[in-house]
């Protein structure tokens, strides 16, 4: 008879060796990072550039968004619908990326079709026609999207917490309005495309590419003109108060957010803070999930995470909670922060956390096709793949006291901003 009361013995996975992407350099000095994925038929090629922020005024904040989205609306020799048909015919997808600090385009294709689509993908960088008719449509779609996001309690709460952390007049805290969309003109977009789009590009490629194919790729981007001067966003200017509230008597839930500026990945305290966050709200077995969802049933989900915009990192808690309970949930969140800061992890929870984080780490690195995303995340903070080797090492050896001390130091109640939408 099988004894079901005792589970199978648990084993610790062997360390994995992480292979950094291969760095190549184009004649023009543009770096190309390559991760080979033998046997995989998909190919991804991304060209990422810093976002130019020099003449920041809210009215023009949407210019990069519209410029990049307009690139697919026509190039010399191909109008908007021809371009759409071209990429669809070859089952390839061009995605536009416009973040707070970076911009770029990515191409997802297959090994079979890559050669067909690459030259047209390349043309998007220099040959876009930016037609006014399509701009008009894009503007009205964007306005609807803005209205919808404002209507959505969770979308609105995300806007407000960024405003609270970075200041509403700073690009990172910026909230798009319909009036800003109205201010976008074809001239502004053309000027941006000419002067501020192609800045210090970096190319990231994942796929099963032979040397010859890589050389073709390099050649394709070798005549890409670019500039090397751009302006980073200025100093942030956080909301001086403690809490932003937007009452919505008719709403069925309250969206709550907590947020505070934190540490860049290069800081020695980053790893302990990261472990602190995972324990607190970063996985399903976390303290706040247990408290707010599994014990009290106040929410479908509550999470905390560490994120970064440029060199500004921040920590956030987010949940949509049962109406009338946001205040209590916030109080419980502070309570849990104090408990974790004052009582270092021990025993079964500590063991579970180490094992979970090790397994989760393995899982995140198990798909070769996803590795470039991990690389970009550290690369854009001036770090390299070794960050992850150190991170894995830290999971296995961290001192719970250090985790509590560091968490208590950065995640203090009096520094944390609060948002409630829907009270």
């Amino acid at each position: 008879m099988l004894d079901r009361s005792i589970g199978p013995e648990l084993k610790v996975p062997d360390p994995i060796s992480l292979k950094a992407p291969i760095k190549r350099t184009l004649k023009t000095g543009v770096p190309l990072y390559f991760i080979p994925t033998p046997g995989i038929k998909a190919i991804k090629c991304e060209v990422i550039m810093p976002l130019h922020n020099s003449s920041y005024v809210a009215e023009d904040a949407l210019v990069p968004f519209f410029t990049l989205n307009m690139l697919l609306e026509g190039i010399k020799g191909m109008n908007s619908s021809e371009l759409d048909d071209f990429f669809d015919y070859y089952a390839s997808e061009v995605e536009v990326h416009v973040g707070h600090d970076r911009q770029g385009l990515s191409l997802l294709s297959t090994k079979k079709r890559f050669d067909n689509v690459l030259p047209v993908f390349r043309a998007l960088f220099t040959e876009a026609t930016l037609p006014p008719k399509e701009l008009k449509k894009r503007k009205s779609q964007k306005k609807l999207g803005i209205a919808l996001q404002r209507e959505q309690a969770s979308g609105r709460a995300n806007q407000l917490i960024r405003q609270a952390l970075f200041g509403e007049n700073h690009p990172f805290g910026y909230t798009a309005t319909e009036a800003h969309v109205d201010g976008i003109s074809a001239d502004k977009i053309r000027a941006y495309y000419q002067d501020h789009f192609r800045i210090l590009p970096e190319i990231f490629v994942t796929g099963d590419l032979e040397e010859e194919e890589l050389q073709t790729l390099e050649k394709t981007f070798e005549d890409l003109p670019f500039r090397d001067n751009y302006q980073r966003a200025g100093e942030i200017n956080p909301f001086p108060g403690k809490r932003m509230i937007e009452p919505r008597p008719q709403a069925m839930q309250e969206s709550m957010r907590l947020g505070v500026l934190a540490l860049p990945k290069s800081h020695p305290d980053y790893f302990p803070l990261w472990v602190f966050n995972t324990t607190y709200g970063g996985y399903f077995g976390s303290r706040i999930i247990k408290n707010i969802r599994e014990d009290k049933g106040y929410t479908y989900g509550i999470y905390s995470f560490l994120s970064s915009i440029s060199k500004n990192d921040y920590w956030m808690v987010m949940a949509d909670v049962k109406k009338g309970h946001a205040e209590e949930v916030i109080a419980e969140c502070y309570k849990e922060l104090k408990i974790l800061a004052n009582t270092p992890l021990y025993g079964e929870e500590l063991e579970t956390l180490r094992n979970y984080m090790t397994g989760s780490f393995l899982s995140e690195f198990s798909s070769a096709f996803d590795l470039m995303g991990k690389f970009k995340r550290v690369h854009h903070q001036g770090l390299d793949f070794d960050f992850y080797n150190k991170q894995l090492q830290y999971i296995k050896t961290f001192d719970p006291e250090e985790v509590s001390t560091v968490g208590g130091k950065y995640l203090q109640e009096n520094r944390i901003k609060e948002v409630i939408v829907g009270s």
């Binding site: 589970g7 669809d88 015919y89 959505q152 599994e294 397994g359 393995l362």
Partner: protein, 424 residues
Amino acid sequence: MIDFQAFTLDNGLEVLVHEDEGTEMAVFNMLYKVGSKNETPDKTGLAHYFEHLMFGGSKNVSDFDRVVEKAGGECNAFTNTDITNYYIQLPAINLETAFWVESDRMLALNLKDSTIETQREVVIEEFKQRYLNQPYGDIMHHVRDLAFTTHPYRWPTIGKEIAHIENFNSQDIREFFHSYYGPNNAILVVAGKVKTAEIEKLASKWFGDIPARPIPTPFATVEPPQLVKRSKKIYADVPSDALYKVFHIPGRLMPGYLECDLITDLLSFGRSAPLEQKLVKGTDVFATCQGYVMGNVDPNLLVISAKMERGREAEEAEELLNKLLLDFKCQEVPQHAIEKVKHQAEAMKAYESLHLLNRAMKLAYFAQLGNPNYYWEESDKKLGISRDAIQTSANRYLDENNASTVYYKAASALDKTSTNQYQA
């Protein structure tokens, strides 16, 4: 192809193994052949609510999530109209832990009162977060309710209304477990750095002694044929009108289904498809427009969903849509469009097989349909459909008398029209 080996235990548990040496991970995917279509009209949402209760601990595993996490794993689940699918991703060396916890809850789930009550609250908050406190969130509630009069696809998996979730008692829940959670109603897929011989041993060790259970025969509810068009207007606090127009189509394995699937590919796949080019880019009425088939086991729906530009009416949008559908029905599909769909199908296979979990889920889903290989065969079969057959099906299914339309109106429009516009 997704390679696999298959065997069945004496108690009826079907097991599939997909070996992949290229990873250190394993996926343990258990699919139960039960979904919201097994519910009754006055007790909807139970299949999904029950899914939450499966994480509430079992006789020998008091905290399911904690044990999985301690093995370095993560777990989750989803429910739809036809199936409930549970999965665990963990380092392959700890795979046996997944066998332990999953077999224990199949054999002896706890169903503690405290779990039942807390998860009831959680599910109600999920209902609000995803469907009620969300602009346009309840559209599919209205669409299903209009299009189906009889079949359980009439309500979404989350449930028809919150009151149903509030009213389940412990007997409803226990009965549901005993009715549907037997090994003979389940399919297990194990994938990753695993060996079939080893999985055979583990499967019979942990699941072999779980007795088969009598599984209730499905209600076999047949939706009566729709004879005339149905429509309904809803007013809500949203920025602009939305239009949902749906047509009854055959079930996933029935003749005619793949033609409909191909029709939505031709109408809507990619930026160059007619719904996007002609309705979204080509007019100032549509802000978005997509078409898709639901693809459920029983006869289901082909859905065209669209949002209007602000100030434009769902009714005028429908007229434009009807014109486009009429053209589609009358004109021969261009060879170029067919080739495009072929290329896309080919590429989708490359993109979809990138992740182990995705491959495991596809195998389980198609095994549940009756044939794991059908994932690949279905696509080939679809691409072999002739242009004549496409047109015949378009004329048959995209028929006004077979249609149900929900006009989801921005509430500000209500101020302009004082008459009661509710029709059913």
